[in-house]
């Protein structure tokens, strides 16, 4: 047992746990942070794009020394069929601003840096220490944690659960239900190393500029999911993910999908001569607003992926993790300063504060999207094919007049899906987007 009693124990040193620990430690609270990995970031997986605004609110000068790879100046959105892609590219020199808005990062390095800042702020971090259980008093209030180390208990006024998507502590303690296969995606990712200059010439970049590609289509074999390719300084991150329930139903393997994606004619040349160095797999909570579990109780509070805070449509997760971590931290600091107990009633302030932020507003706006995508698989198979076919018909110069071509395109759409089906999809999509 650790004799010292803490104001707060934080489980996990990912973006959510770090944001919470940092916020509390800078306010002078005694914080103990426990991380099961060998070092922060050793087990963490992300694309990864860092959204600056969420981190700026925590560490305004993070650009001075955070390990950032490239700032994103170009976004490509692709729908792909087996041989081609139709894409929208947005590139702007506005993104070369002094304080860029989005960066690619490598989580292992980024988490280490963030953790250094957390410890400099005064929090005590113990790695290779897994929290196994929450400790409760006879009244059921959470009063501390048990760890997998000998003599492994520690006590605090509140336990902040930043344990990630598959947070077993919360599940085992009955704070939230087990993950449902249709609420969580399984994503795999590889790192491919290439010399800087090659990346810059291949993607038409100047120093530190970056490109990201987000893709959907037949690459997920009809399942609900997306793929991505991000440029780092000297490597490319590439990955693909689909709902766990879809993998089970379709007998597909994530690795098989990734292999096919890498060999797609639109992707393959981008990876030519690269050396693959790392293969990882991770879950992403994608249930959205409706899957958010209970977020607080007597002596405990949930932040980040553990609370299902991911906006799957925009692939935002770490920023929601940091924001929920910060706001949980601020709530705890406020209660502490007012000498209020860490009770369920008082912690309701956390939810009230969250409701005011983009986190809850965005998740609420998209609350119908997960169900929509789950029910409308044609988005991932049929439409990409139709778009590609249309583009091909339109662009091929073969002596056929344009009006006939237009008719052909229309016909292909009508054949692929009935007119009411087409209209219905558009309508339903618009409705769930609203």
């Amino acid at each position: 047992m650790i004799e010292q009693r803490f104001d707060a124990i934080v489980v996990g040193a990912g973006p959510s746990g770090n944001a919470a620990a940092y916020t509390m430690a800078t306010a002078g609270l005694k914080v103990l942070q426990l991380e099961r990995g060998e070092y922060p970031g050793s087990k963490n997986v992300q694309g990864a794009i860092l959204y600056a605004s969420a981190l700026e609110k925590i560490i305004p000068d993070f650009r001075d020394d955070a390990p950032l790879e490239r700032h994103v100046i170009e976004q490509r959105l692709w729908t792909m069929d087996d041989a081609s892609h139709v894409g929208v590219h947005y590139r702007s020199s506005d993104f070369n601003e002094e304080r860029p808005n989005r960066y690619t990062i490598l989580r292992a390095q980024f988490d280490k840096w963030f953790s250094r800042r957390v410890r400099d702020a005064g929090a005590i971090l113990l790695c290779e220490t897994t929290v196994t259980e929450l400790l409760r008093d006879p009244a059921g209030r959470v009063i501390g944690v048990r760890t997998d180390r000998d003599g492994g208990t520690a006590f605090a006024d509140i336990v902040v659960l930043g344990e990630g998507v598959n947070g077993l502590v919360g599940q085992r303690s009955g704070l939230r239900p087990e993950l449902k296969p249709d609420n969580v995606a399984l994503a795999v990712k590889e790192m491919h190393f290439l010399p800087r200059e090659t990346i810059e010439s291949r993607f038409n970049l100047k120093q530190d500029e970056g490109v990201v590609i987000e893709a959907m289509g037949t690459i997920t074999a009809g399942m609900t999911g997306t793929a991505f390719l991000y440029t780092n300084q000297e490597s490319i991150s590439i990955g693909i993910g689909c709902l766990v329930s879809d993998f089970a139903e379709n007998q597909q393997t994530p690795y098989g999908l990734l292999e096919a994606f890498k060999n797609h004619p639109s992707i393959k040349p981008l990876l030519e001569n690269a050396e693959c160095k790392e293969y990882v797999a991770h879950l992403i909570p994608e249930g959205g607003y409706n899957a958010i579990p209970e977020l607080y109780g007597d002596g405990w509070i949930v932040v980040g992926d553990a609370g299902q805070f991911v906006n799957a449509v925009h692939r935002e997760g770490s920023n929601l993790a940091m924001t929920t971590g910060r706001i949980a931290g601020e709530t705890i600091v406020a209660l502490k300063q007012r000498h209020q107990a860490m009770s369920k009633a008082n912690l309701a302030e956390y939810r009230r504060r969250l409701d005011e932020t983009f986190v809850m507003k965005d998740l609420k706006k998209y609350r119908k999207i997960p169900a929509f995508l789950h029910r409308n698989k044609q988005i991932f198979g049929l439409y990409p094919k139709l778009f590609a076919g249309a583009a091909q018909t339109w662009l091929r110069v073969d002596g056929i007049d344009k009006r006939t071509k237009e008719k052909e395109i229309l016909k292909s759409f009508r054949k692929g899906r009935t007119l009411p089906g087409l209209i219905g999809d558009a309508f339903n999509f618009a409705r769930s987007w609203r």
Binding site: I2, L32, L125, L126, E128, T147, R149, D150, G151, A154
Partner: protein, 284 residues
Amino acid sequence: MHIVVCMKQVPDSAQIRVHPVTNTIMRQGVPTIINPYDLFALEEAMRLRDQFGGEVTVLTMGPPMAEDSLRKALTFGADRAVLLTDRTFAGSDTLATSFALASALSKIGEVFGPPSLVFTGKQTIDGDTAQVGPGIAKRLALHQLTYVARIVALDPDAATITVERRAEGGIQVLSTRLPALITMLEGVNEIRRGTLESAYRAACAEIVIWNAAAAGIGDLGKCGLRGSPTIVKKVFAPSPRAEKVQQLPTADLPAEAVAESVIREIFKRQPAIEGDLVRFSAGQ
């Protein structure tokens, strides 16, 4: 009983890459670990402490970031950590390293009490010399027990120790008087995980940090590059001997035809061999 364990932070050799173009070792981004052999020494030292009472001090010479390794040792359960760090130590060979460590050990003796036992690992995985332990023993006139596989008996009051030492051709059983220096063999024990308490103590602990002056080293000529007669003339990566594996079709072929096709492939890749063979058989 005071026991000091000398350890070194080394690059994790399992993860070192050689730059494909320049053939130099790429140290950047390679994680560092405690020299694996030193962990056997540390565990053995802690077992003696647990049995006979006393303290274990870990000592390392290295850059400031070697502090990470010391904290890890504290997490495992060491009681105190001393970091010897100074630019003048840069470029030390085994002679200069054993000088600096021996000086620091004397200082540790003055400040925290003289050690009855000093442990080191058998050797490091980055230098592989196995010279530093014996060098320290010689400088401090400690009885020297190298390649120890087992500590058979220790009597702190009589100040005697008996160990099994692995030698060529067998096991030697050696007894000597304390203070002694032991270099520990691998595989003799397993480092403990450390309790939650020790992990917490490690995170909060003040590491004792000494530069050359603080360690009482006056003669800087014996330190670092200046004190190192060893000169590294050249570093090179051996060129890989084997090319990629190639499979030749053998199905249904008679043995001679298979042999023929194998030899032909070899000659295609190594024309020199063909020439040698031709010359050889002509000579016959």
